[in-house]
Symmetry: C4
Subunit: 477 residues, 4 copies
């Protein structure tokens, strides 16, 4: 049985809400209250086609969670055809036109010299919505800004007259080979920036010889990402644990069977950070189309509490995890190495070691959650100063703010096993797909090797704490 | 007996000065010298109607202090009518037109995401005079700026893996329930920003479940504010003690009978701060109307010493209060809890505790009095470091500079019982009345709860000093 | 015998150089080599009238040092008349026209609220040359900028609940009454800014009840300044000691007989600082008249070493003074109190005390001499921390960078007896003559009294070191 | 036998690559792979004249290293004539026209007051390529910027009342006379800025009485530089040691025979720094000519790894030097004093002293190599604090960031024997040739003498550590 556009249009309220996604009709009335992103954003499309809004921010299997009885069936094919034509013929928004124009004018990839070049270009070629989601951070944006600035308080004491002609930055992460002390940190919704999404990162990471950590909130399914990997390529999995343990077990089983090699349990994103730039994005776009002046009709509007794109992603996550309960439980269901992503202070690093974790990723989620959370490099430095023994008990990584080979090297000198980067690879793939990701890694490779040679270090183990000094001034950026 | 405009016009000098306020005539000749704001501002209206200038900056009962013999009687009704028509027909000033235009263009309240949004909007919709009065601060404005910047030197050491799904920010202030560790700090002249004045704040505070401290310099009478409160709603009173003890007693009796629940004795505003932006406001307006170029006629003008709006408010306040004399005296006349508002250093915090006060509000009056006074958060930090025992002896609050939920949480971690905010609520009510105030509280509620969850704190008591660290750099704002 | 313009014009080279000053002819050929400002600036006027260039930067008795045989006699009166007419009819420069225009547009003095207002206005109403001379400082200007910024690292810990209704800022300096802990620091060439020159400051200082220190490089004679003083008004003298002791003795005798009450021996200006803005002033003016584009004719020009206005003033000063020799010698020739102006470190403060000086003025000459010399407030702070006993052995003053009442109060809290200000009074008199100076003092008086009341200090002695704290951040200016 | 343009044009690929340089033909096919600057830049000129690109960045004897069999012989004279005419008639680029225009408009040299003036002017009169090469520094440019900013954290504690009329800044460096505690640090490719290249610096240094250190990468031959020196003028040599010891020996023999007086062994430039501005220069020029908009043809371009001008210079340098091997070897082949250029931390300073070096030059290569390397002044300060004995064991110099006489004096106070400067002299010679260099030295002389007098120092030995203080704030630049 097929349904027509007219049928669907009759269900356009919160009493009965149908939507069309990729030519199929779904009854989402009961789901409205559960939608992690709130009901409002769905009701905008009630009774009509939601495909364009849905696709870039949901993995393909997202609809699986909807009871089969709500899968109402395919759209009438003539009506589907009509939708496709309308989509093709529709007037493009100013933002879409801007993006098309800018994308055509991209420079040759060979002219990209640094991750900053990718970021500047990404701001031009990304849709406003994608840029807002990728670049935004919490509240005043201080946590994000300070993540990066922290690096500028650490200077090098380079050693000279040491043989460095044969210099190798290769290392191992959880026992897996990596060409660099660097990995791709999990980052959601790559399809917002490029139609191939996370697969671009997978392919680029392979070219560059580094490991990708895949987010639970990837816009491809975990199977699709795994399929993009070459044989033998290492993938890690960033787990957002569902409140429902059984669903979490199911997910772990799935990624185990797909060959993911380690679990990074996310503990720094229990609820959505307040990313105002992201929340504001739809209004900015609306004003861009219609002009900025409008009236407050009928007095002040209702108080909306729209969590932005982020709100949609973490709504079902477990906010009651504990060291005592969650770690043994995870150990009991999987043999994969376990890393805690989101440790943010010395005390929790100690607890993680005591809990027998294989590693911790010091991270404040790129400054997207708690504003004024301590920059990860500073936390790393505190561990180095006060509990250097922890570096022998587990692997310690950081992410957040690193943008240069020297940044990576500073963290390695202080004891980090590797440094994660998220946004830079999103920007690189948005600009040039997999080639962009490979180029980003190649830039970092060159920067890291140069830095090592200038420091008198021929291999990763030669990078020692004495080579960096935390200074009492702040470099002028 | 009624008086005519012609009668009044004959009394237009400092020898005999009559003014009309709301269709009544007053002889203020003898009062000129006593007027806290100076005689000049009254003489500008000598012999004519002063209603528009008088209303927004005086509470309705201000004329009570004028001897009844000086209440000369009503204006002739035809003349009053003539005044009203003239007022309606008068050419609006450029500033009034600007405000009307901007007010119409306010965004829907739902688009306000932060207190900063309210502030930006307030600068647009407020009259220049109101903005100058609300936003101005002393001398170089450093005290005000640094109040806020102080927060940016305190970073969080968040704890993870703690159950926070059920998170409550509720607390008690002087034993009274508050939905948040937050209260409205006393701020004068709300009517400058909105015709309903302080009542907007009262109603918004009720919706948000927080306590309002009402200023002695409110532009509504204390009874009017109390009348705006819902049954059971808690109001505190910010007392500016009059030099004349008997007048002070009278005021205390009045607010007791109105049901105010505590007294915040103001000790940081004995004389008017030098708020240059406020003093300059009338000249700016004059230049705005007439163009900025003018000549110095007949050589340099007299040296004027106009204290601005602030000067008018504190002229009669007691500058000779002491711990030994004033506290016991206050205790002897009232059973209400007593908090000293304006303590600014550790030594005075100790004295307040020794004097048996119920609490102190560390405040430099929003940076409006002494430039370069220590930011309240820094003073709180010094007490935490050197005399943590004081937190057990009395309740300690701070106000000044807090604009985000994270700011509030930082102060609570350091030991504050609650944080006061003044200007933000003035801005919110100026933009949207009581709804604006409620929205501001709702924003802070959301920010505070998010911050608590990210810190691993499920209740206020979980916020501990170890969670904040004063860093040796300054976040880039 | 009179001389004609034609006669004079024959002597226009460095072999024979005559100039006309105020209708008198002088042979300055032999003086060329001795001129403190270099020969070049004189040769520009060789064979013609130099009056306009000469007057604003020389005291009236400067020509006394020229041997009488070189006073060639008066100019022919018809020729003198011709010069006057030419001067009156000459085309005004763009800079002169700018100054006239701006001077007319000055605001009423009543609208000046702070010393910063005077400074902004001075930049508009001063000739470029005067502004360059007054405002310029050494090399990168860091010393000058940091003098002021130093104050922004000192915050107050105010005391409350102290009786301050009767608050007096009066004090004594070297035993002489002063209405404020403030004096006019010696500053040269007031006539560059206003035709009445230093006399404006003298009259304004009297109105404000503070003491003026008169510079050896005043553009009025010391007698003229003394004549502008009221009976009983205190003047101090800033001595630039001549290399020739006998000339120095002569000068001391002169100012003793004129009633000056103390000697401030200048030791921080042995040679001219490199004030690039001042050196560049004539070129800026030339380009302003002729347009900025010009060619290097015949290859690069000679390497000039023009010391600017400053170079002209200190050429003959003694560069070989010592504690052992100079202090006893000065004591032997005068009974006046002796203060060393220009002490810049703790060690020299100790030596001054040991040498029995009555006081020291910690000063880096307004940052006009040695770039990166320690800000005086910082030096004062170091003395307070390490040798507080010195404050009991002599009076200690500072100048440089203070612009607000709070600045003055900070220094007094740290132990300074008084604070000197130079440029602010030059700017004030340039804008409004003596009235401007009086207004500047009145502003400072009001600011100082407010600060004292807010600090809980009813008299100067109540200002104690505990009230200021050097913080580890820098206020944002 | 001569070759024609047609003959040459047949060899325009990487299989067979001929180029014309100054009317001679060379077969560089086999050399392509060895070219330190990469093959790409040569292939751009394959089969045609490369003279204009070759000359400014290669010393005249660079072609000596090409096997004689590859020197194919002279170009046919008519064809050579044709090339010359074509070169003369060719359309000038926008950049060339800009440079010509700006060069004509240079101010007279007498108006240059500071090294900053030279730098500002150099940016105008230099080709974009030259400016990019001279001014560029590594990665984020922080190392370069911080080199200069470091000086702004050191303030003076000047001494007064000391005889300074006779003040001399003369000193000795490695026993050789220098009029100032200052020398020219080696800097490559002076011909990029001025046709006379390094000889300008040699002549200017002689006029100013200071010593020039000549770079291995000079654009004149070492013999040409030596020939520009006056009899008795001291030259030092900055050695980039070739990987092949025998070539290194040959170079040492050559400069010994030319009369160079010391060897500064470069250890901070083993590989090219990442100077993005320099790498980007050709693209900027291309866009300048053709407009900035272009398309990515056929998908993203190849990933280029162009090391910029710098890459071409250090490709053959020895990356395996060690204290144990290299120092004794150098000592065994020459009696010249030996200084290690590029020491960057205390530990290596100790090793240099233990290895018996005559001196070290603390340098991070002007911030052009490792970003965030410690500023040399800070390293000097650390040696002064922790190992002051090292100053007695060898001479210690610094370079990087010094731009003022006060900068030099600060380093001397801390124990440096002399301060090197590189870029400032390149800028000075680019603007005005040898006269510019002499003027730069004269400016520094004047600034140094003034600073010494203001500090109370009559000779270099009077400059002591107590005169400088590292402050905990940063001057506002």
């Amino acid at each position: 049985m097929t349904l027509s556009l007219v049928d669907v249009a009759k269900h356009s309220t919160n009493k009965s809400c149908w939507v069309i996604i990729q030519d199929k009709v779904y009854d989402v009335t009961d789901f409205l209250a559960e939608h992690p992103g709130g009901s409002k954003v769905i009701l905008k499309y009630a009774g009509r086609d939601a495909t364009q809004a849905y696709l870039p921010i949901h993995p393909p299997d997202a609809l699986k969670t909807l009871d089969l009885s709500k899968h109402l069936g395919p759209l009438d094919s003539a009506d589907a055809q009509q939708l496709h034509i309308a989509q093709q013929n529709r007037v493009k928004t100013k933002d879409e036109l801007r993006v098309e124009e800018q994308y055509k004018k991209r420079p040759p990839l060979g002219r990209i010299l640094s991750l900053a070049d990718f970021e500047s270009l990404a701001q031009l070629v990304l849709s406003h919505k994608a840029w807002a989601y990728y670049s935004s951070s919490a509240d005043t944006t201080s946590a994000n800004v300070e993540n990066a600035r922290a690096f500028s308080r650490f200077f090098f004491n380079p050693r000279v007259m040491r043989p460095v002609r044969d210099c190798s930055p290769a290392t191992k992460i959880l026992g897996f080979d990596s060409s660099l002390p660097l990995f791709v940190s999990g980052a959601a919704l790559a399809k917002l920036g490029h139609p191939l999404g996370e697969a671009n990162i997978t392919r680029g990471a392979h070219k560059g010889g580094i490991i990708q950590m895949v987010s639970s909130n990837a816009s491809l399914s975990f199977a699709e990402v795994a399929a993009a990997a070459e044989p033998g390529q290492t993938l890690f999995f960033q787990l957002y644990k569902h409140t429902d343990d059984s669903l979490a077990v199911k997910r772990v089983r799935e990624i185990e069977s797909l060959g993911y090699k380690a679990i990074f349990l996310t503990v720094d994103a229990l609820t959505a950070g307040k990313r105002e730039c992201d929340v504001r994005a739809p209004w900015v776009l609306e004003d861009m189309e219609n002009g900025p002046a409008y009236h407050v009709e009928g007095g002040p509007a209702d108080i909306a509490d729209d969590g932005g794109t982020a709100g949609a992603l973490v709504g079902a996550d477990d906010q009651n995890m504990t060291w005592e309960k969650t770690i043994p439980w995870l150990r009991s269901i999987t043999k994969l190495p376990l890393v805690i992503k989101g440790v943010q202070c010395l005390e929790d690093a100690v607890l993680a070691a005591e809990a027998g974790c294989d590693g911790i990723l010091i991270s404040n989620h790129g400054g997207r959650q708690l504003d004024y959370s301590m920059p990860p490099l500073e936390t790393l430095y505190r561990i180095r100063k006060r509990r250097p023994d922890l570096f022998d008990k587990m692997e310690i990584y950081i992410d957040g703010g690193a943008r240069r080979g020297t940044d990576v090297v500073k963290a390695i000198c202080l004891g980090a096993k590797a440094v994660g980067m998220g946004r830079p690879f999103l920007y690189a793939q948005s600009c040039y797909g997999a080639d962009g990701v490979a180029k980003a890694i190649s830039i970092l490779d060159s920067e890291i090797v140069k830095a090592m040679k200038f420091l008198g270090a021929a291999k990763i183990e030669d990078l020692v704490p004495e080579m960096v000094e935390r200074v009492d001034w702040q470099a002028k950026l």
